[in-house]
Every structure is written in C-alpha cells, then in structure tokens.
C-alpha cells in the first residue's frame, strides 16, 4: 500500500523542521524504484518523505584526492560523468548492468545502498573502489566504510530519520573488472557478481579490492583473496589461488534466483575472469 501522506521538503533545513510533525512510521522516497515495488507488495510506512527534489543531495565534487557523489544522483547521471569514467571505472562498468535504462534514469545511488540488498550492483562497484558512505541526521554527519554500512539483508546502519548524504571515494590509480551472472545478459538481478579493482605497479599488485554481490547476507568483501594477491604478479597460478580463496569467503543461500552450491562455485569462476581481465589490461 502506498501511504496517503507524502511530504516534499524544499531543502534539508526544511526537512529537519518538518520531521517531528510527521507520523512515526515514515520512509524516505528517492528514485522510488524499490520503494514503490515494496509498497505494492505490502505496508511501506504511513508517510513518505520525498527527498528526490533536494538539490543538496545531488552534488558532485572533485578534490585533488577524492570524489564526493551525492546520494540523489541517478545511475544514468553518474554513468555519463567524465570524472566517473576516469576515476570510478568499476561504477562505470557496472552501470549498464544495473536494471534497465529507464530504471537507471530514476534510481539513485543512495537508494541502492539504503535498500540494503546484498545484490546491489552500484554498491558492489563502489565497495571495490574503497568508497565511504556519509550519513546525515539533523546537521550531524558521520562517515563509515561502505561495507560496514550493511548489517544484514535489508538491514543497514541508518538510524531513525538519518539519510545518506553521499559517498566519498578516494582517487587511486586502479583498473577494474565487473563480472555479473544473471538470468540473461542485461536487466536481471544478479545471481552472483564479482568486482575487482586493482592497482598494479611494476608488474605486481600494489593494492586490490574484491567485492562480491548476492553471495552473503551483505555485500561481501573477499579480503583473504585480496590480501593473498598483495605484492604478487597476476598469473594463472596466483589468479587461480585468489579465486579459490574468494570462493571460500562466500556464504550464499539458495533462493528464487539461484542455488547456494552453484553460487559458491561461480564466485571462483567470476573472480578468475575478473582477475584475468585486470592482468590483461
């Protein structure tokens, strides 16, 4: 059921002033592509607070060492930004695999995180790019490493009325690969996704971050696999060993989209493919 009360604050200041007068069971509405579907399947709050019009959530800032991505930016808007193509190759690679073009025109990167799903493509990409998430509640900001934001399926670190201001991503010279396995080539929710970002220097891995979607209760960071690769060359042997480690870190379930055993085996396959692409880049 869609709620009968919708509030559309004109600014963040207006939002914080309005909140106390609203019913307790309230939700933020951004792109709406997940919330509208949740509402058609059951109760989704007594009141929606539409933050899609807030300019303060759509900023994009570049400093010499980092990028700041406003939570209200749509996936399409991000995919078209030259700075994203240059500094966030994983996000740029994941974008065409994120839902469909019309959904990308509405869906926001903040909503992708707030929804708390372990299969989120945008989140998986940003996790591999070492993003932090910046949360805001009445003028108080806090910053968490993005993987720490996820507590369980559909459970996040967001407190009552707190919203996602955006994501801070450091600039680092990495290449990325995004491997997604879905029911079809495009426009499917992932059965398994593996995203690898790596900085290679002098032929050896200086740093690598491996994130996986749909294979754990939260977006999974394959830390053992990444640590193993530190200081090594990417060749058939190291790739195969790292991929096996990534598989050992996954704890998928069987659900309507895929089976646990298959998902686990595919983590190894997709991790090896992603690492091979990085080695060839």
């Amino acid at each position: 059921m869609r709620p009968e009360l919708l509030v559309r604050p004109s600014s963040l200041a207006h939002l914080w002033k309005t909140l106390p007068s609203l019913p307790r069971d309230r939700r933020y509405l951004a792109g709406g592509t997940d919330l509208m579907i949740a509402a058609s399947h059951g109760h989704a709050g007594d009141c929606w607070v539409d933050i899609s019009g807030l300019k303060e959530l759509r900023s994009f800032r570049e400093t010499p060492s980092s990028l700041f991505i406003g939570s209200g930016l749509t996936i399409s808007a991000l995919a078209e930004m030259p700075a994203v193509k240059k500094w966030l190759p994983a996000l740029a690679l994941a974008a065409p695999h994120y839902a469909s073009p019309s959904l990308r025109n509405m869906a926001t990167i903040g909503g992708n995180a707030a929804n708390g799903s372990p299969c989120a493509d945008g989140v998986c990409a940003l996790c591999s790019e070492k993003a932090s998430i910046v949360l805001l509640l009445k003028g108080v900001k806090r910053k968490l490493p993005l993987p720490a934001f996820f507590l369980g399926p559909k459970r996040t670190a967001l407190r009552k009325d707190e919203l996602i201001l955006g994501f801070e991503v450091p600039k680092w010279r990495h290449v990325s690969a995004y491997e997604k396995l879905g029911p079809r080539s495009y426009f499917g929710i992932s059965k398994v996704s593996v995203c690898v970002s790596a900085e290679i220097s002098g032929g050896v891995v200086k740093e690598t971050v491996i994130s996986c979607a749909s294979v754990a209760p939260v977006p999974l960071m394959a830390r053992k696999a990444a640590e193993f690769l530190y200081g090594r060359r990417l060749d058939e042997g190291t790739i195969s060993e790292a991929a096996a480690l990534a598989e050992s870190e996954a704890s998928p379930i069987t659900d309507t989209r895929s089976e646990a055993g298959y998902r686990k085996a595919m983590v190894r396959v997709l991790a090896a493919r992603a690492l091979a692409k990085i080695a060839a880049a």
Binding site: E4, L6, S76
Partner: protein, 162 residues
C-alpha cells in the same frame, strides 16, 4: 487523504490540479488526464509499457508518484508527433515495417526509441538493443522492432526531421 497541487507541463500544455499523494504518474495520465496511450503492463518496472519522457528521459510511470513531476515536463506517446502534427517518423516506420503486432508494448518502445535517438542520433544496433532492454514484447520476437528503430534513425538523419 492528503492532496497536493501538481503543476507540470504535459505534452506541451500546462497542467495544474490537486492530486492524491498516493497517485502514480501512470494513474494520473490514464485516469485523470485520459491519456490512455501509456499502458500498464507489469506495474513493477519490468516491462516498459508505461514509459514516458520526464524532462527528456525515459522513465517508468508506474514507479513514479504523480506529485514528483511538480515543476517538470512530461511527454507521453500522445505528445510524440511529427513536425506537421501527424505521425512521428518512428511511428510511421513502425507501421510500414510491420513492427507492431498486438501493439500493447509499442507506446513504451517508441518512447524509449525517441529518447535514444534524441540523445544519440547515430545510435548503432547495439545501442538500440541496450536501450530496449527494459521493454518486453511478447509477440514480435523483437527483430522487426529493432529493424524499425534502425530505419527510423536513418530516416531522421536523412531528412533532418526534428
């Protein structure tokens, strides 16, 4: 029931009226404005039958609240026209090429094609396929649709019909 004022532009004309907070854009267009060209297929963003242009970008009107269009511009299939006010070149090509069977998905597909060709007049077949990933057709098998969008692109380029 909470009502709010919606002031927006629909197919070039200004619309200003009170609407229920829970009204979707699709319900608003079909039931309040009588614009029945926009279809409801799945109601969950999977099929693309309800696509409209919001500030020039294709969006699923079933997943959008009408109130979110306040101050913005909407174009529906009824607003996609040729320069002479008749059929748009994409619509003509779809008819001539037999790209329409039952027709239910076609308004959404033409909206998606128009959004793509406006943004990318030289779109390749691969671009067209990617743009239409969110549009389901259960009749044609897509070949005729893809062919018609390619021909529309060529027509639009040749005649500068915009």
């Amino acid at each position: 029931m909470d009502r709010s004022l919606l002031d927006c532009v629909v197919n070039g004309g200004r619309v200003s009226r009170g609407i229920a907070a829970s009204r979707t854009m699709l319900e608003f267009l079909r039931e309040d404005l009588g614009l029945k060209g926009t279809k409801e297929g799945c109601g969950e963003g999977e099929c693309g039958a309800c696509l409209i242009l919001l500030d020039g970008r294709a969006v699923n009107s079933c997943l959008m609240l009408a109130a979110q269009a306040h101050g913005r511009e909407i174009v529906t299939i009824e607003g996609i026209k040729g320069r002479d006010g008749g059929l748009h070149p994409i619509q003509k090509t779809f008819m001539e090429e037999g790209a329409v069977q039952c027709g239910f998905c076609i308004p959404g597909i033409i909206v998606a094609a128009e959004a793509l060709l406006r943004r990318k007049p030289a779109a390749t077949l691969e671009d067209i396929k990617l743009e239409l990933t969110g549009n389901l057709c259960r009749c044609t098998g897509y070949e005729k649709i893809l062919g018609a969008v390619e021909l529309s692109r060529d027509e639009l380029k040749k005649k500068g019909k915009r």
